[in-house]
Amino acid sequence: MRRHADLDPAPGLSDPRFLDAGEAALVVQFGEIVDPAINDRVLALDAALRADPPAGTREFVPTYRSLMIHYDPLEIDRATLVATVRRAMEAAVEGRGQATIWTLPCCYDPALAEDLDEAAQLLKLTRDRAVALHHKATYRVYMCGFTPGQPYLGGVPEALKISRRPTPRPPHAAGAVLIGGGLCVVAPFVMPTGWYVIGRTPERLYAAERKDAFLIQAGDMLRFDPIDLTTFRDLEQRAASGEIVARKSAA
């Protein structure tokens, strides 16, 4: 896991910066912090460009605070791309329209939530209080990254904001729900981590054989529904057979 800066309030919106990540990727940067208003602008530009992709562009990668545009500089030059992006920004509708809300089953049993007690102790909370704080919050999917289908969530309650471990811990299971760096992620792939495993979801955020291989995308909202170990085992089996066990609703 990479480090994340603390969550600071937005200093006010300004024009984006156009930064180069080599000659084949342009970064449209709306800010340097984790902030919903900045992320809204990223997602609005992303939506506008995807609706009508300029010739020569290859992929758009929305992140917390910037949109990376991969392009072929032999098909579209930088100046033309920047001008096209500026026009798309003017036309882009601010905000995300009606966001999809996902309710993800999450088991906080210490058998699966390996680091829950350790994290609660560091945060000076009881286990039950930490769990309640976590599943009563509504999270925003700022971006997906690190591994396939992995959402980065903002909206972690202040009392649950914990910095990452000084040294990484051994790999966690697929479906681990982690907190660290003031954020929360759901990790679809087995990986070592510097964060804390406080729960596990039976849902598969990436499933190659499913029609929608990726369940969640940047801009979605997410809640956690606490389940016990028996329910987890049941849902895990159903998810393995291709069923989507998370619930989807509109805001």
Binding site: D20, G22, D46, M68, A208, F214
Partner: protein, 346 residues
């Protein structure tokens, strides 16, 4: 292992670590956190494919310094090897390092690390009959995507080859001096986070010199050299990562992110290696020393255009001379006279 019944099989007799199937990459899913993967040396990968009449971005075997031994089963295969300067032999008899050849049933092509280079590509005329993941064969072992069940190739693998319908390529040595790219200076475009470093640190970065560390793999190239310091700390909020991004973590030791990099990350990126120099860097073995040279976007695009023009000229294949090899051996290769130029397709 493979469902279809193709005409011929490329059978792997032995394989060192890190030998993987790679096409041009798994594109279109970075926004979901899916790494593109693809070849470490795009130019050599394309050259090997074009030499056997495949599209430039077709699936080929990326061979590491661990080497590989293969044979044809059920039917002969037309293959090409290009990239670095590996040591090739056919049934124990040495061959030039970049070749197009007919691999008869049971004949053993052995590829071993040679004088230079970290990666070479074994292209086979036709199509690899292995399942695609998200539209691509590119192997990304960390997430188990692509390749042979998401893993590197191992001894015993039987890779089905479906015929492509294009005419058989003529055997001979691949003449492509433009593939031989010494690594004295690696060109970079500064940024996207060069403002996280003071001017003297940018100068130190460009002055180097840098040495390729033994720690590297398909994900990253680690560099030993001057320790860089950050002007504004090293914790940035994650943003996108292009191939060739040079991130500087807290310890001040730059890491160049390569084909198997993550889609996003959170260390300041001082510069980005330009596309045409990625393959040169990838081919540099541990211990190789070089410097970075800052260029403008326009210069980087011009270099890209030159590279595309070189590939568009086609791959020149020259029959081996009888003086170099025994006539019996050359007859075994079914060599023909004359210089053949293979036009790129697709």
């Amino acid at each position: 292992m493979i469902a279809v019944t193709p005409e011929a099989i490329l059978r792997v007799l032995s394989a060192g670590p890190g030998v993987t199937l790679q096409d041009a990459g798994r594109h279109g899913y970075l926004r979901f956190g899916v790494t593109a993967a693809g070849p470490m040396d795009r130019l050599a990968h394309a050259a090997a494919n074009l030499a056997v009449g495949n599209p430039a971005g077709a699936t080929a075997l990326e061979v590491s310094v661990g080497g590989v031994e293969v044979t044809a089963q059920s039917a002969p295969l037309h293959v090409a090897v290009a990239g670095g300067e590996f040591s090739l032999s056919l049934d124990g008899r040495p061959l030039p390092p970049a070749m197009v050849l007919n691999l008869d049933e049971g004949a053993v092509l052995r590829i071993r690390a040679g004088g230079r280079g970290s990666w070479c590509y074994l292209a086979v005329a036709g199509r690899f009959a292995v399942p695609k993941v998200l539209g691509s064969h590119a192997t990304h072992t960390r997430t188990g995507f692509g390749g042979v069940n998401g893993r590197a190739v191992v001894a015993g693998d039987r890779l089905g080859i479906e015929p492509s319908g294009s005419s058989a390529p003529s055997p001979g040595a691949i003449i492509a001096p433009w593939l031989d790219r010494p690594i004295d200076a690696v060109r970079v475009v500064l940024g996207p986070q060069q403002d996280y470093f003071a001017d003297d640190q940018i100068s130190a970065f460009l002055a180097g010199p840098w040495t390729v560390s033994a720690k590297g793999d398909r994900m990253a190239c680690f560099l030993d050299g001057p320790q860089l310091t950050h002007a504004r700390g090293y914790n940035i909020v994650s943003d996108g990562i292009a191939m060739g991004a040079i991130q500087v973590p807290g310890d001040g030791r730059p890491i160049v992110l390569m084909a198997d990099r993550q889609s996003t990350g959170g260390y300041p990126k001082i510069a980005t290696v330009i596309g045409p120099d990625l393959g040169r860097l990838a081919q540099a073995r541990p211990g190789t020393t070089f410097r970075f040279e800052a260029v403008s976007i326009e210069q980087a695009v011009a270099a890209r255009r030159d590279e595309a023009a070189e590939l568009a000229r086609g791959i020149v294949v020259e029959p081996l001379l009888r003086t170099d090899f025994s006539s019996e051996f050359l007859l075994g290769l079914n060599l023909i006279d004359g210089v053949v130029s293979v036009e790129p397709s697709g």
